[in-house]
Amino acid sequence: MPRAADRPAPHAPKPGETIADAVARFVRTEIFEGRLAAGQRLPQDDIAESVGVSRIPVREAIIALEREGWVRVERHRGAFINALDEQAVLDRFALYGRFYGFAARRALERMTADERQTLRGLALDLTRPTGAKPFERANSAYMSTLVHFAGSARLRGVLRSTAQIVPGNFFATVPKGITIQRAGIAALQAALDADDASAAEQICADMEHRHALEVIAVMHSRQARAATAHT
């Protein structure tokens, strides 16, 4: 694994992140980019050194990563990388689809008229931007508001642990993601306007499944590139 000095990417915690969060982010990227492989033991000392921290935040990061499915912990033996294969991506996005479908159903039960209006406005904002960055901003405003209006502390807890497979800005890494998400949210908002929770659930599931297929395509090309770099 490259040392911190070799890498321009800053591993320092971003605002609102703990040191352990930054370590977890670093490990996810290493796995996604194919630099840490399935079955390999997580090199805790190397990671600590790369990020420039002690072993303690690395151990803390492992607890979060285990709950997100990136690693499995075997006592006295360490943490081992789980395969990030097609099935893993499909499963992860299937979970997302269900959790957001749940958010839509609960939001329909719990939203006030004003909140419905707010969400409608945010859906409209999503029809405009074309760049990855503004689209990501508009999308996360819509999704986080939907989750907020669902009014479920449990859902928020679960989503916090359903960390994204794609590090950084999803729409920058997965270009077709914008088209999929834009169409998906338009359909979702129409289902919400029609008070149709079952349709909303199905739309979320379909949308996330489409994302999964795109992510698999991107991952294959990245891992091929990493494999070439190693040889």
Binding site: T18, I56, R98, F102, S152, R154, R160
Partner: protein, 226 residues
């Protein structure tokens, strides 16, 4: 209890001290000794349990991920609390995860696997008491998780853990009946190779268990005392 992801990994590996601390904090919340919004005193807990601050901090991170606590590095850890909606939502979410696991089992199970699961389900039904019932049920669920062979879905069970681990069937009188009906419906769907049916069976079972848990918590006063 039952579809009880949490107990599965714990049996496979011995509990670490941070897991023991986490279990202790869960019990404090469930028994109402820690109430919603209360700040967790990490030093006191460490001293009380005779451990260092490190496993306490690790337990807090795990419980934050599981939704029992809200942890922010600058504010400390606060109890998220158990309200009626939390319990309903929790089991609903757990059902969504188990539904996906059930789908995978329909895709992957061989006829031999189905036969083995059937035998376990029959054994569970014959169990003379709730202790044996719980043990057999746990074996059955562990087998389902194994057949699904999905690290991501298995990890999702860690963040939607059973609210109660021990004594579930004593605490929840209708628990056994719900579980048996749910497993029977799942087995029927599995034999017909119906992914939709298996999914629905699991979701329905977990929703019913959530209602039963809520009724039990309401009766004992843990819920609705704020």
């Amino acid at each position: 209890m039952s579809t009880h992801g949490r107990t599965l990994p714990r049996r496979l590996k011995r509990e670490s001290s941070s897991e023991q601390v986490a279990e202790h904090i869960r019990r404090l919340i469930m028994s109402g000794e820690l109430v919603k919004g209360e700040r967790l005193r990490q030093e006191d807990l460490a001293e009380e349990l005779g451990v260092s601050r490190i496993p306490v901090r690790e337990a807090i991170i795990a419980l934050d991920r599981e939704g029992w606590l809200d942890f922010e590095s600058n504010r400390g850890a606060h109890v998220a609390g158990l309200a009626a909606d939390d319990i309903r939502d929790h089991y609903e979410l757990r059902g969504l995860v188990f539904g996906l696991l059930a789908r995978r089992v329909v895709e992957t199970a061989t006829d031999e696997d189905v036969k083995a699961l059937s035998a376990l389900a029959a054994e569970m039904k014959r169990a003379p008491d709730i202790v044996e019932f719980a043990v057999t049920n746990e074996r059955l669920i562990r087998q389902i998780v194994r057949l699904a062979a999905s690290p991501r879905l298995t990890a999702a069970l860690l963040v939607t853990p059973a609210i109660m681990h021990h004594d579930f069937y004593e605490f929840v009188p209708t628990g056994r009946k719900n579980q048996e009906a749910g497993v029977a419906a799942f087995m029927r769907a599995l034999k017909q190779r119906s992914a939709d049916g298996a999914d629905t069976a699991m979701r329905t079972m977990l929703r019913r268990q959530g209602q039963a848990v809520l009724a039990a918590f309401t009766a004992s006063g843990v819920v609705g005392r704020e």
